[in-house]
């Protein structure tokens, strides 16, 4: 009986491992507002990390898209954290203000976090599930890819 139970647990574990992605590297960063944020404090919620910089042409569109998504899905456990790679925080604050985003903008001027997430091309969107595993990565989105992102996002919220 115990072996059977162990087998069931092992198979559940394997299934879960197969479905999940790698664990999202934890980090703590200061935001433009002066507050510090730590990724691991959002376990239990679906998190989108949006890596961006003021010099990246496609980034503003993604910032605005994720503001819309935050307003739609924010009350069902969806959190957006912008991670800015500019050297000067003022540049991040200016563009975030102009784009009208209401989610935290975290400052990664040392680029330690962007390196750990391999954010070589911007914008980069990383979707993290409620267990802290990376489940999808997206670059700048066209219409078809946006539909894919929405499917991924709704699946993660429903899990």
């Amino acid at each position: 009986m115990r072996l059977a139970v162990a087998g069931v647990i092992a198979s559940i574990g394997l299934a879960a491992t197969a479905a999940e992605g790698p664990v999202a590297p934890d980090f703590a960063l200061a935001s433009t507002a002066g507050t510090n944020y730590r990724l691991s404090e959002y376990r239990g919620e679906v998190v989108a990390l949006v890596f961006w910089a003021s010099w990246c042409g496609d980034c503003r569109r993604e910032l605005e898209r994720f503001e819309r998504l935050r307003r739609t899905y924010g009350n069902v456990g969806f959190v957006v954290l912008g991670v800015n790679l500019d050297k000067e925080p003022a540049q991040a604050t200016a563009l975030a203000g102009a784009a009208g985003i209401g989610y935290p903008v975290l400052l990664d001027s040392a680029k330690d976090v962007s390196k750990s997430y391999r954010a070589d091309d911007l914008p980069l969107i990383v979707l993290i599930d409620r267990h802290g595993a990376i489940r999808a990565r997206h670059q700048a989105l066209d219409e078809r890819e946006e539909r894919g992102l929405l499917v991924n996002l709704r699946d993660l919220i429903d899990e």
Partner: protein, 181 residues
């Protein structure tokens, strides 16, 4: 005809409990199995948690033996005059930890929580532990303060506590470093 009908109805009524019992059996049996399975799963889960704890302790004993182990803890007493933002820790002028505190962590420290900032190995002898605290001091002014302690590492494990407390006489924060024997 009427008596035949009555006898058929009576037979049906009499046989209903039997049907009900037959129908209940297949339901009760899997439920009993399921609760037994749940019990087994819970017991296995407990064993896994216990094993994980033992392995963690074993790992710590192996990686940080008492003869070289040094741990640095951060605590906060009241914290009215200081909102902790980060702590940078240097041992023998080498940075070993740099920790940013979120609001939740600050709150936990204020409510009496103690955080293990760093756990490492140092050989026996004299060492210098320096901590730099940054945050907001009285009147919301940016505040940075360093504190240094000479630590003599002996044969046993060494525990160092960095404590932020309020100095009411000066209305300023106070940073205290002490060694637990």
């Amino acid at each position: 005809m009427k008596s035949a009908l009555i006898s058929v109805l009576a037979a049906i009524v009499v046989s209903l409990p039997a049907f009900a019992a037959d129908a209940a059996d297949p339901v009760t049996a899997p439920e009993a199995d399921r609760s037994a399975l749940d019990g087994e799963v819970q017991s296995l889960r407990r064993e896994v948690v216990d094993l994980n704890r033992d392995l963690f302790m074993l790992e710590e004993d192996l990686l940080f033996p008492a003869s070289t182990q040094v741990a640095v803890f951060v605590s906060m007493d009241v914290g009215t005059f200081f909102a902790l933002d980060s702590v940078q820790l240097k041992v023998d002028d080498k940075e070993v930890a740099n920790y940013l505190y979120t609001e939740r962590e600050q709150d936990a420290l204020k409510r009496g929580g103690v955080q293990r900032l760093w756990l490492g190995n140092l050989k026996a002898g004299d060492h210098e532990v320096t901590a730099f605290f940054t945050g907001q001091g009285p009147h919301d002014r940016d505040y940075k303060r360093g504190t240094t302690l000479k630590v003599e590492k002996g044969v046993g494990a060494k525990y160092v506590e960095l404590k932020v407390s309020d100095k009411l006489t000066k209305l300023q924060p106070e940073f205290v470093v002490r060694v637990w024997e």
